[in-house]
Symmetry: C2
């Protein structure tokens, strides 16, 4: 919305605790994502949207379903040891026995995991501590009325900010400078095994154009949740149509793991 108005938009949220702090073995932090959008003219807008953990929970769920071993550096067990078994990590997350997903930068200090941990804390300070919502493990202090059989939501908080570019320079000039920067990045020499340097938001924009044509694939889990909430709220459940054509993106669970 900010980008469409020629502004820079910033959006942060905290989330349920799944991530262990550096040197810790308890899940105390959310995947606490950072999002920033900035307008361009010729290229798709710059749209960063990233978890501050090394991977989102959904990616671990995909590895579990596919019986794949995770790389060292994604998660730890309840004693803080590297854990490559996605099923064990998910079981620990659900039962809250400890361990969890690692912050961006991985375990310990060798690849600066304390930076991802710090970014996660930064997001939580702005979203949770400052807003009066939950923070850290308190995000799990659920709102709602479980006794009445209603869906409960974690006590998350959000942070939104907008920067009016026109106060600094003409939006056209800003967009031209950002386009120039993007062109420079995309035109740069590629690594030996790569053909494209991507800009954040570029892949998602291509996907958006496809989804506008063929509709948005929704996974079974998401659809089930939507139907349940609709029933609880006494409104019509969403109508689902079969995809109009085969889409190159995985139609069900994969899409949930892309955050």
């Amino acid at each position: 919305m900010a980008v469409e108005e020629g502004m820079i938009g910033i959006s942060l949220t905290n989330s349920a605790p799944l991530v262990v702090p550096t040197h810790g073995a308890e899940m105390l932090l959310g995947t606490n994502p950072i999002s920033l959008g900035a307008p361009t003219r010729r290229n798709p807008a710059f749209l960063l949207d990233m978890a501050t953990s090394v991977v989102p929970r959904g990616k671990i769920e995909v590895y579990d379903r596919n019986c794949h071993q995770m790389p060292v550096g994604w998660a730890v067990d309840e004693n803080g040891y590297d854990c490559q078994n996605p099923g064990q990590v998910l079981k620990n997350l659900i039962e809250r026995v400890g361990g969890g997903i690692l912050p961006l930068g991985g375990r310990g200090e060798e690849f600066s995991g304390y930076k991802g941990y710090g970014l996660s804390l930064m997001v939580d300070i702005l979203c949770g501590v400052l807003s009066g919502a939950g923070y850290g493990p308190n995000v799990d202090d659920v709102h709602g009325n479980p006794e009445a059989g209603k869906t409960v939501f974690p006590n998350v908080g959000h942070f939104f900010a907008v920067i009016d570019i026109a106060r600094f320079m003409p939006v056209e000039g800003f967009a031209a400078r950002l386009d120039d920067y993007i062109d420079r990045l995309k035109g740069s020499r590629k690594a030996f095994d790569q053909e494209t340097v991507f800009i954040h938001g570029e892949k998602e924009w291509a996907r958006t154009l496809i989804h506008r044509e063929v509709g948005i694939p929704i996974g079974e889990n998401v659809l089930g949740t939507l139907r349940r909430i609709a029933t609880e709220a006494g409104v019509e459940p969403p109508v689902v149509q079969p995809a109009r054509e085969q889409c190159e993106f995985a139609p069900s669970k994969q899409g949930e793991a892309d955050a």
Copy 2:
């Protein structure tokens, strides 16, 4: 300064290009650090100050001086291959033949290097593109007057923001909530090989208290630069006193590599 006024302070800067974008092989981005401070009452203030690259340039210089091999995931050569030779990476940086330091998250996508790359771009959009300063490789378009024999500076830009906590909640309440969060983190179960979960700014605060007593150790390189600038500016060079007592922190080069 913001924290002392009971506010949240945010400070970003872009910097000379040393970092390669994900899937790229050219140094096009700075180490573009992110800094955020937030006030507490009982604990040292939260003070995040981190490069968006996996390591700062200084750390590679330390490895080079000590003849150590770097871990896979810190840097790539001019073709985008993992490079563990710190001397080769530094030579490539100076001669600008390509390769460079990797963004936070490392090479490729397995550990989400595109997140560090995105954070670096985010910082540069706010510091360089928005301000009218240089951005990306243009930061190296130096200012100053080299012909006159003066020191030249890269064309960097900065971004500063302050959030007045009192507009959201009483500062005392904010500080109490952040102290509670910090206590929860520091009191949490440690990984099998660790004794302390640190908060960002905690180590630096302990170091500050020592430096206030014994003075600030300055490396030979920094001292030489200060002397040269002082001479150029026609002011008295800094006076250096021998340390009043031995300090547990490395006295010379190590300190430069901690960013």
